[in-house]
Amino acid sequence: MEKMYAGVAVNVNEEGYLTDFSQWSKEVAEDIAKEENVSLTQRHWDLISYLQGEHKKESALSIRKVGKSGVVSIKEFYELFPTGPLKVSTRVAGIPKPASCI
């Protein structure tokens, strides 16, 4: 389905995750973050670019992995995205929701 963010129509799945990363922009991220009641600071952007980099490398994301990345601690990760660090941050970053833990 399509959704309007920052004045452009982007493709998202039924949970609101972008299905085409090429449609992501900082403005789109700002709008998605607004929906999640998060206002983006430089720390958020640092994390977002780390997440996108890992996604490009096709490495599986987990809260522990982010905590060990040196970008943010787990504590800070929760402070940045209190309602669900991995769920919300990946959505804002325009990458797929990490597959469920087994």
Binding site: I63, I74, Y78, L86, A99, S100, C101, I102
Partner: protein, 418 residues
């Protein structure tokens, strides 16, 4: 003479030794390394705290299951030198190999959470993923007077992801039988958004939790244990108080991986999920809980993997391409108390649903439904484990890859994540 070396003589490693002893061509020698004396029937750890099994029913000497002609080396493993194709042991001896199979499993790592270990460990904070933990918890439960019982998962993935649910169900039945259920408040605290990792099963299991008066507290990411004030605190500041905390600590692979310079952030071995060859090196394979494949960490998974890995090792030896055959097949009983159990059967792509198993329309086992037959299946499994499973015998009618026959795939629920 060529050498095949297996690291770890637990469920997966022992199965591989038995399979390969029968299948390897002449000219191959098999050795297996493990520092332990005892092979534990790990599903029994769930029953030990409730006095359903005695310790003697779940432990046997490791040697008993290593086939004749396979060399068992009882030593701690220091390091894998993948470039030299050697494994260094604690006693300083180095063993060379042509093919290596890593089957070192996973273990609890309670030290990962601040405050989990300490004076209260195995006094008011328990695990049941070790023999010691399960036995100490049994002794505690025998004389416990009641209060808030918190069943808690630290972080995923964990070995046997249904075990904490089973523990909560069995605790409900145990205290009811003792005539003190009204004195015990059972809460199930999980980092997941629901009762289980798979949506349709989550729906059924949530219903069961509610029916048994077990409160579920989801999305709880523990930051530390406050042992003195008996509460767990999450990163968001949420707190849950306990009188008795039964936790599944962080699970991690063997730190041998870290010492050897590979392994992911949880010390699991990067492994091709369909062939079970590692991405570390082409002559290194991995099986069971030690791998990073996105399947459940469970004995049934190791059993199915063993049949497929045996085929691929033979292919590797004869220079044929490996078969991308493993589909993530898992088959787990879920004890729900009062002599009943559920059964789930699933793989990488197909979540557990209702239906019959192993025969479509006949069963005799019922998928995702509480029945007495399923419970007898689980109890019979201890015999199957000691007599068929770890000795590498095929379990009748149960295939290594999952069968879709007899399963109801309509009305499945959307996948949930943390």
């Amino acid at each position: 003479m060529k050498d095949l070396l297996i690291l770890g003589a637990g469920t997966a490693g022992t199965m591989m030794a038995n399979h390969l002893k029968k299948e390897l061509p002449d000219g191959w020698k098999i050795s297996i390394v493990d520092q332990q004396e005892t092979h534990y029937y790990q599903p029994g750890y769930l029953f030990l705290p409730f006095d359903i099994y005695k310790p003697s029913q779940i432990k046997k000497p490791i040697e008993k299951f290593i086939p004749k002609g396979v060399t068992l080396i009882k030593q701690k493993i220091e390091k894998i030198n993948k470039d030299e194709n050697t494994v260094l042991l604690k006693n300083g001896k180095s063993i060379s190999y042509d093919i290596l199979i890593i089957a070192t499993g996973t273990d609890i790592a309670p030290q990962e959470i601040e405050g989990m270990l300490g004076d209260h460990w195995h006094k008011s904070v328990f695990d049941f993923y070790t023999f010691e933990g399960a036995k100490n918890l049994r002794n505690k439960l025998r004389k416990w007077k009641g209060g808030d019982l918190i069943v808690h998962i630290t972080e995923m993935p964990i070995k046997c992801p249904v075990a904490p649910l089973e523990f909560a169900f069995l605790a409900d039945a145990y205290f009811e039988q003792k005539g003190m259920r009204d004195k015990v408040n059972i809460k199930y605290v999980t980092p997941l958004s629901g009762a289980f990792t798979k949506p349709t099963a989550t729906k059924e299991l949530t219903h069961l939790l509610t029916k048994k008066n077990i409160e579920i507290i989801p999305d709880f990411a523990i930051e530390h244990v406050d042992g003195e004030n008996k509460k767990i605190v999450d990163y968001g500041g949420k707190e849950v108080s306990y009188d008795l905390l039964v936790t599944i600590p962080t699970n991690m692979g063997d730190d041998l991986m870290e010492r050897s310079g590979f392994g992911d952030e949880m010390n699991y071995v990067p492994t091709n999920k369909a062939t079970l060859q590692t991405t570390v090196k082409e002559n290194i394979f991995a099986i069971g809980d030690a791998t990073n494949v996105p399947a459940s960490k469970a004995g049934s998974v190791a059993h199915f993997e063993a049949e497929i890995l045996t085929g691929n090792i033979l292919r590797y030896i004869s220079g044929q391409p490996l078969k991308e055959e493993f589909d993530g097949h898992a088959n787990c009983f879920i004890e729900t108390g009062h002599g009943k159990a559920l059964l789930i059967d699933f793989n990488y792509t197909h979540e557990p649903v209702t239906g019959t198993f192993p025969f479509a329309g006949i069963g005799p086992l019922n998928l995702l439904k509480e029945t007495h037959t399923n419970h007898w299946g689980k109890l019979a499994f201890r015999w199957i484990y000691w007599n068929l499973l770890i000795t590498g015998k095929h379990i009748p009618f149960v295939t290594a890859t999952m069968s879709e026959s007899g399963k109801n795939y309509k009305d499945v629920v959307e996948e949930e994540t943390v």
